[in-house]
């Protein structure tokens, strides 16, 4: 953890002071909250707004909230939302065109007043996902202005995970569960019989500024050891793991593997995996005109490689079968993403497994192809 030389221990009151300090600085504070029997990301004002005492049970196609029996504030894994919905919103207006003087078109960009967000409880896998979207959407030559304006203003309060979910596999993707970089402040929840507080460390100048305003006590070696134990316990409880092999070569060498037919039998091509994935960034542009033919609007919304329209070009869709769509998604996420952006597109958050209505497990699909391939080599 590359702390800015500042760390302290705060109580729950101190955490409330943090939320207040962020709000005072004009941030719209967003964090985990319970809604519709899940932990989603929404506006947050009070510590009591957090999912106090809740955890989640996660498996392929399965998510249930459970009471923990303690008062942990962050005792759960990631839910259906990711920070993508704030930094790379589901819908963005692009431009409007109006007919003037009957023969001229006047184009105007749609005003995009990006809020200044402060995210509270950003997991290591999510920081990795944001770093990936930064590479994709803030590349110097092709920056997306909507993403950039939100991202550059965002304040990130990260969190070392104290609970691994049933579909988590960040450890095997080398993205977590410990936070290493890319945050303004990082919290570790220290929950013991007699005390409940947070080790808090700064990762940026603004983070250090805010930290200096919070009531806390200097962190001791014991606090840091306790925080490391929290993370190591989480690491040893990962619900899933990605096979440790050269996945890009494995997948690209097996583009005609029978497993693609097998997964196509089960896959609904409903696009849920791509919507919940914190790195999937694809969008489509929708153009409409009004009844009078005076105004036209162009807007952007999330789209998915699981939809026929997504690969529609002159003559039809390139990927008509579920087999080709699933293969496109998985080979891009785990293999060609590396060629394109230098890292895997997967951070091991497990959302695509949990929120797939039929519980297709990307780690299992890799394992199946790997297993058959190694068997193939033996015979």
């Amino acid at each position: 953890m590359d702390d800015h030389g500042v760390s302290s221990v705060i109580t729950l009151d101190g955490l409330q002071c943090l939320l207040d300090a962020l709000a005072r600085r004009g941030y719209q504070v967003v964090g985990p909250r319970v809604r519709d029997q899940a932990i989603v990301y929404d506006e947050l004002a009070r510590v009591e707004d957090l999912p106090v005492g809740w955890t989640d049970e996660q498996d392929g196609g399965h998510y249930r909230l459970k009471q923990r029996g303690d008062h942990a504030l962050f005792g759960y894994a990631v839910g259906p939302h990711s920070w993508k919905r704030f930094l790379h919103p589901p819908r963005v207006g692009l431009w409007q065109a109006t007919v003037v003087n009957e023969d001229r078109l006047h184009f105007e960009p749609v005003r995009d007043d990006a809020p200044r967000y402060a995210f509270v409880g950003v997991r290591a896998c999510e920081l990795a996902a944001i770093a990936i979207q930064d590479r994709v959407l803030m590349d110097d030559n092709h920056a997306d202005p909507h993403y950039r304006s939100r991202r550059e203003q965002a304040f990130l309060v990260a969190l070392n995970c104290s609970e691994a979910g049933g579909t988590c596999f960040c450890d095997s993707m080398n993205t977590g569960p410990d936070v290493k970089t890319g945050y303004d402040l990082v919290l570790t929840e220290l929950l013991e019989e007699e005390s409940h507080g947070f080790l808090i460390q700064a990762g940026s100048d603004e983070g250090a500024d805010i930290l200096s305003e919070l009531p806390g006590t200097p962190a001791t070696g014991a606090h840091h050891r306790a925080a490391r134990e929290v993370v190591e316990r989480t690491r040893s409880n990962m619900g899933r793991s990605m096979p440790q092999t050269a996945i890009p070569a494995l997948l690209m060498d097996n583009l005609e593997h029978p497993r693609w037919d097998d997964v196509a039998e089960r896959c609904l091509s409903c696009a849920n995996c791509t919507m919940v994935c914190p790195t999937c960034f694809c969008t489509t542009v929708e153009d409409t005109s009004d009844l009078e033919g005076v105004t036209a609007e162009s807007s952007r919304r999330w789209d998915s490689c699981f939809n026929a329209d997504f690969s529609y070009i002159h003559g039809g869709s390139v990927r008509n079968s579920t087999r080709s769509r699933y293969r496109q998604w998985m080979t891009h996420k785990l293999a060609t993403w590396v060629d394109q952006f230098g890292t895997s597109g997967c951070v091991g958050c497990g959302r695509c497994i949990t929120w797939c209505p039929v519980g297709i497990d990307i780690t299992e699909e890799v394992r199946a192809i790997q297993g058959d391939s190694s068997q193939g080599e033996q015979t």
Partner: protein, 260 residues
């Protein structure tokens, strides 16, 4: 009426249906006057008393074909229409009344009517596209008025309407809804159902009823396995697929798999 001569002529036609989709047009309220400005509403029995006369630039057809008379009438509508758009599940898939297609019509007639001999009906309820060429099919039971305005606006400019064929799931995710199947164990047709309602039922923590019919490339068999795990027995699964879009091929084939 020289002032209206150059406006496109709109006809709204009714076949076997509940009128709900036509009413979506009247429900437009704020936009209705703009619609009336943009087109000449030349035939609309639900709203006006004019008669069938001449040709129509845009015909909106509601309802399915259930009588020999209607099977002839739709040919006449097609002949008089430059562009023919079906609106709603009846016109597009045969509607709830297509349940008759799975049974013997005479059994229904004797069960329902004191004098079945007065009833002249076909043994099936079929979509408009089984009878004439259709230029565009707008889904829904009922249709969304927003989508109807989009289709009319698109027709007026000669562009493709924005009515995507993806799953209801995608709309849930755009809205930030929590998945009712994954998080609550609620059976939901969203993964196989066509977008258009803005994920109405799941937004209120109900499973999707499939009012907009099958999405493109649906995998109903895979969803049925999940419905089975959620505790739906075969007859419940059959009924799940057999509602307003029962006769749409993917739903029909899947419901037939669950017949005992």
């Amino acid at each position: 009426m020289p002032a209206t001569d150059h406006k496109p002529r709109l006809g709204v036609w009714k076949f076997a249906s509940c009128d709900g989709c036509q009413l979506s047009l009247l429900d437009c309220e704020d936009e209705l006057l703009r619609v009336a400005d943009a087109v000449e509403i030349a035939y609309f029995p639900e709203a006006t008393r004019s008669h069938i006369r001449g040709t129509y630039d845009l015909s909106l057809v509601e309802g399915s074909i259930t009588t020999a008379h209607d099977a002839e009438r739709i040919q006449e509508v097609r002949r008089r229409s430059r562009t023919l758009v079906t609106i709603g599940a009846c016109a597009t898939a045969g509607g709830i009344q297509a349940l008759r297609n799975f049974a013997d019509i005479d059994d229904f007639l004797t069960a329902v009517y004191a004098h079945p001999e007065y009833i002249e009906t076909l043994s099936t309820s079929t979509p408009i596209s089984d009878h004439v060429a259709v230029d565009f099919e707008l889904r829904g039971c009922p249709i969304s008025k927003t989508q109807l305005l989009e289709v009319v606006s698109a027709f007026l400019r000669g562009r493709r309407p924005v009515t995507p064929a993806h799953s209801v799931c995608l709309d849930c995710k755009l809205k930030g809804n929590v998945c009712v199947t994954v998080a609550h164990g609620t059976p939901c047709l969203g993964p196989v159902t066509h977008s258009g309602c803005d994920a109405l039922c799941p937004s209120y923590n109900r499973g999707c009823y499939g009012c907009y019919g099958p999405k493109e490339n649906p995998n109903a068999a895979a969803l049925s396995e999940r419905l089975d795990q959620l505790g739906m027995n075969p007859s419940e699964r059959l009924r799940f697929y057999r509602t307003f879009n029962a006769w749409a091929d993917p739903f029909r084939e899947e419901s037939e798999r669950h017949e005992s």
